[in-house]
Symmetry: C2
């Protein structure tokens, strides 16, 4: 059942469920953490060592009712999740504007495009027009392998899908065109190494 | 009275009050809209004409309790405002990472530094290290004059204040070092013209 928001936008309830309520598509992850947490702790580390300034954007929430039991204590009593109009992460690294989305799948041979939303693709295209560096971080949970893939490939697959093309990106394609990111201690997921490779490729 | 959050951060209740509940420090604004709304509508326009991709970040909210009357309808029943760790706006323009904060005052001769928070200054310094373009948009409500001021000046005044220096930036200083932004129809506040001047100055 589709439900309309106060702001008129359709609400994707499942993607907003708290982690523990989500049907996890990963059964035997090697680690307790998920991709989002790995990225967040890596961003904290990058901030600490002054390597980059990258933050996850807060989830947009439409506040309807707030109680003020006292002047300095505000309790939100009614609010709704809203659809974001951007990707989840952005920031600045060596003068470059970085913008990306992170997604996981339990699929073994390809990454389903249904993991992405139209507004995320549109946003990445807009950022590309402004010479931003946009990409996706993709995790294959069953192998615990993470890749950085330039958004241009994702956009191609997305537009091809709209013309009745295939509905997923093959792992073999991601292996060939993306940059694999190794897990480490600190940062947990050193994705800026892959960003450096991407920048090098783009500068050629 | 200061109140601690669930996340342990102090909460600045007043800055989170809904607009209409805020004690407005402007009495006779020439327009119905405020600086934030002027910037937001200008950003919408910039997006539409593909001139820049700049968004206001959602206010971070700590969700404590959510009801799911049905699978697709999530109602947040208890939540708290959290302190942001960044500025309000960021995005990409002609390959540059832009990051800024917008503030208004009803003061007539200077801009009080108490309008800024330590975390905003720290964030701008970090972005500067990464070669981001950071600044503040400052509105003197009683004159309805808006200026763009490079963050380096703000940071200087801020650090000077910590050493018992003056607690505000004189309007005369802002007039001399900042770039005034005119109001228009579309975009309402064409602040990218001032950003162009700032970029030109930085490239010299």
């Amino acid at each position: 059942m589709a439900v309309n928001y106060p702001n008129g936008k359709l609400f994707d309830a499942v993607s907003h469920l708290p982690e523990k309520k989500k049907k996890r598509d990963t059964i035997y992850s090697n680690r307790g953490m998920n991709l989002e947490e790995d990225i967040n702790t890596s961003n904290d580390y990058y901030l600490l060592v002054e390597r980059a300034v990258i933050h996850k954007k807060p989830t947009p929430i439409q506040v309807v009712k707030v109680d003020y039991p006292s002047r300095s204590a505000a309790i939100i009593k009614e609010a709704y999740y809203r659809q974001s109009s951007t990707t989840d992460y952005n920031g600045v690294y060596k003068g470059y504007y970085l913008d990306f989305e992170a997604k996981e799948t339990n699929n073994k041979t390809s990454f389903p495009l249904k993991n992405f939303h139209e507004h995320q693709i549109v946003h990445m295209k807009r950022c590309n027009q402004q010479m931003g560096i946009t990409f996706v971080l993709i995790r294959f949970s069953c192998y615990n392998r993470v890749f950085l893939l330039d958004s241009s490939y994702l956009i191609d697959f997305w537009e091809n899908k709209l013309n009745n093309g295939r509905k997923s990106i093959p792992l073999a394609f991601i292996e060939s065109k993306g940059f694999e990111i190794g897990y480490g201690f600190n940062p947990r997921l050193d994705y800026l190494v892959a960003v450096d490779k991407l920048l090098e490729m783009k500068m050629k």
